[in-house]
Chain length 471, copies 2
């Protein structure tokens, strides 16, 4: 392919700005159109910036574009989950038994601004704000835009168009409504929605709760979580059913009911949130949806990437990381120098889709794990055992969480299959009292348990494989 091809990117969010930067580094002519104003010039109130979990797969992309150190400066390490019970007791459950493995809380806005700054340093990259894409003519490789300010409508063409315009993608909508090819598509909503709240810093700017953890208040059918921000605040999120249970988004309609709900279920969180009622009624309630589709591309003309191709629920902290990994995978396909864009897009989807399908399913698993299983004694015993394995035999074992989050050299699908099999093996052995977890400091005993888990895991994988290939 000729290097000086013109690439149009729709959307300058995290995925689009990273893609623009990388394609700019590779020498393409890149034009990015973003519907929102430039977030670097818009007043975003401090302390309420939305934060995200940033981990190894995302960092792999930062290494690729040479921004690892700059991004690291924006990160707050979270070493584990801080579980809060109803009585306010807390319990730290590490994400890994290896000290160097942790996830980070990072500001979406700060990271996006950095990526935009870096992309714009390339003369061959231009970014246009306030330009909303209304539709894409994927047969003509043109996109139809409207300027937010002037309302002027215009059409842009390119050698190829890549849509990184998120869960509500205009290109995906054009694929669906166009009916020009068989387009498999799903949008699936959880019964729960979410609402953002906040724990503000102390008057001296300190954190009101332990800084280096992802806080969880698991209550079975619903939960609250909190992630730290650099300014001393925490962004808090309530995940709750719209219409089921004693308290739900539909019936929490008065300040008294909201306060009563938090007094009963989250008293220690409420004590940190004098601003609860104001936050609750000011902030919107948003749905939690998963989007999958296929094909992602139309010939060599257009391609979906990031959330536009695979929006997922937030419970594995992998949404941004998966989108960043998209760019790494796409970059690796570009390295193959295939004959044209169609071959490139086809190869990219073939290698990538199985993994984004897997992280979508894993994220839903983790919804149930976080709100319910983290409070289950057998689940906690499993985590204790896994932490011991990872600590004593760091090269021989990785939990499902570690495989997904810290093993960026394997894909999500492989992590899912092996991780689920391990969980199944350990949980069943614990439920059947086939594992004695009382002497995990005895390394010989622990090694025997590890061998037992590995054997059971491999049997599960083998049995599943036989059933799948013959059954």
């Amino acid at each position: 392919m000729k290097k000086q091809q013109n690439i149009l990117i729709i959307g300058a969010g995290l995925c689009g700005s990273l893609l623009a930067l990388r394609l700019g580094q590779r020498g393409y002519n890149v034009a990015v159109y973003e519907m929102r104003p430039d977030l670097r010039k818009t007043d975003i109130s401090a302390g309420r910036s939305i934060n995200l979990a940033f981990s190894d797969r995302g960092n792999k992309a930062m290494k690729l574009v040479g921004l690892e150190a700059q991004v690291n400066a924006l990160c707050i390490p979270m070493n584990g989950r801080m579980i809060h019970d109803k009585e306010g007791h807390t319990f730290l459950s590490n994400y890994s038994g290896r000290d160097q493995e942790y996830i980070n809380s990072i500001s979406r806005g700060g990271l996006n601004a950095l990526l935009l700054d870096e992309a714009e340093k390339h003369a061959n990259v231009t970014i246009h704000f306030n330009k909303k894409c209304k539709s894409v003519d994927f047969e003509k490789t043109t996109a139809f835009f409207q300027d937010y300010t002037t309302k002027e409508e215009f059409i842009e063409d390119a050698d190829c168009i890549i849509a990184t315009d998120g869960a509500g993608s205009a290109l995906r909508k054009s694929y669906y409504l166009g009916k020009k090819f068989l387009f498999s598509f799903s949008q699936n909503y959880l019964t729960h929605g979410y609402k953002e709240l906040s724990i503000l810093p102390t008057e001296t700017g300190d954190y009101k709760a332990y800084k280096n953890a992802l806080h969880i208040w698991p209550r079975g059918d619903f939960m609250v979580i909190a992630l730290p921000n650099l300014d001393g605040s925490f962004t808090v999120t309530l995940f709750l059913s719209y219409d089921e249970g004693a308290y739900n988004f539909n019936n929490l309609t008065t300040p008294e009911m909201v306060t009563e709900f938090f007094e009963k279920e989250f008293p220690d969180a409420l004590a940190l949130m004098p601003n609860l009622v104001a936050d609750f009624f000011e902030n919107p309630t948003a749905p939690l949806g998963t989007v999958k589709c296929s094909p992602w591309h139309y010939k060599g003309n257009t391609l979906l990437m990031g959330d536009s191709a695979h929006a997922i629920v937030p419970f594995y902290g992998q949404g941004m990381n998966a989108s960043f990994e998209d760019v790494v995978e796409f970059d690796a396909v570009l390295d193959q120098q295939l004959e044209d864009w169609e071959a490139t897009f086809t190869a990219y989807e073939k290698t990538r889709k199985k993994d984004t399908d897997a992280i979508a399913d894993l994220a839903i698993d983790n919804f149930h794990e976080m709100k319910a299983h983290t409070a289950n004694p057998i689940f906690q015993e499993k985590r204790k055992l896994e932490m011991a394995f990872e600590k004593a035999f760091p090269k021989d074992y990785s939990s499902k969480y570690s495989l997904v989050t810290f093993n960026e050299h394997i894909g999500y699908r492989e992590a899912m299959l092996r991780g689920r099999a391990q969980d199944k093996a350990i949980l069943n052995m614990l439920a059947d009292h086939e594992i004695d977890t009382t002497h995990l400091d005895d390394k010989t005993h622990l090694k025997a348990l590890l061998d037992k888990v590995k054997t059971a895991t491999n049997n599960i994988l083998d049995d599943d494989n036989v059933a799948k290939t013959i059954g």
Copy 2:
């Protein structure tokens, strides 16, 4: 609820005409609007009528409306799969070890005509043909129609609207495009499409192949099947990839290539099909899609039923049976006399959706089973063992196929979970040489094998359950 409520049904296909009949029997005022002309008055060429598999779940509905004997007269029993290999060797694999368990080939048109006749015998049921539903205002409970002949447009209202308008449902489209509530929705296409062909009767009107079987030519990545019609013909269907493999729908563009493909892969079928090339180029190639969605209803105003709620691929022969079972399940909810339509629709979806989700997944499983696994020696050994179990211990064992097809007292979901676990248990024991199938006529030995399979099955179900509820 008042009995004299007005119910509007969109679509007079198999599900809509059965629903109209049943609701007519229950005393409701029923108005049915169908976009096609009256199939009883339209000339349908004999010998090419599309046939379907009719089995116990569908028959349960016929019993409910008192039509069991009349439908039975339209049926051709198929006792098993007749497997054809490339050399033309055939092998009959029964559907069950119990003689009274078989499926039937039935004409779609004949059955639909019967249901329309019976529905129209009720003075409180009216059926309007050539009226195409364009959209539904589910907040106002009105449907918007266009007359095919006069092009006149009109609106009808009712106390509630039930859409039985198939995979391309106008009501479902209105739910999706309306964006008035969170609508989970998926449409997923297989990589394969299908094309109908035919084996015509002999000059004396006889069947050119064994009448009482579903014929399969499994070739791994593609297949041909044939079902008998009452007039001595077979309706033949080719399932083939659109674009993968040496031969596919995209590259079979000349009579020579089509003939070459059949000569190479299906020589014994070709010998029965002098009309192959004409059929191939006259008949359309159609996609194979699965549709799932939720919720099925909007308040008490509107409800999706049959394919409009859950279109499935044809490989389990359960599409019509599932839609008929919808009517049985809906009828049972009506018997509960809940307070209003909203409570009725909510209860119906809650009990029914898990089962239609399951048959959708089972139907895709069976695509792979039919085109590939039926030719696998271990799979064939499993079937041999299961036939022996069902014959020797008819009350103690049912294969997955039997659970799905002949055990209409349990739901599809239960059939799927138990059936998949059994398959996994048996296939793994066969693959690991833990089962000796050489002396299946020894009843003591066979009973020991059955116990072994049951224990392994229960272990699988228990392990899955632990992993699901804690993991």
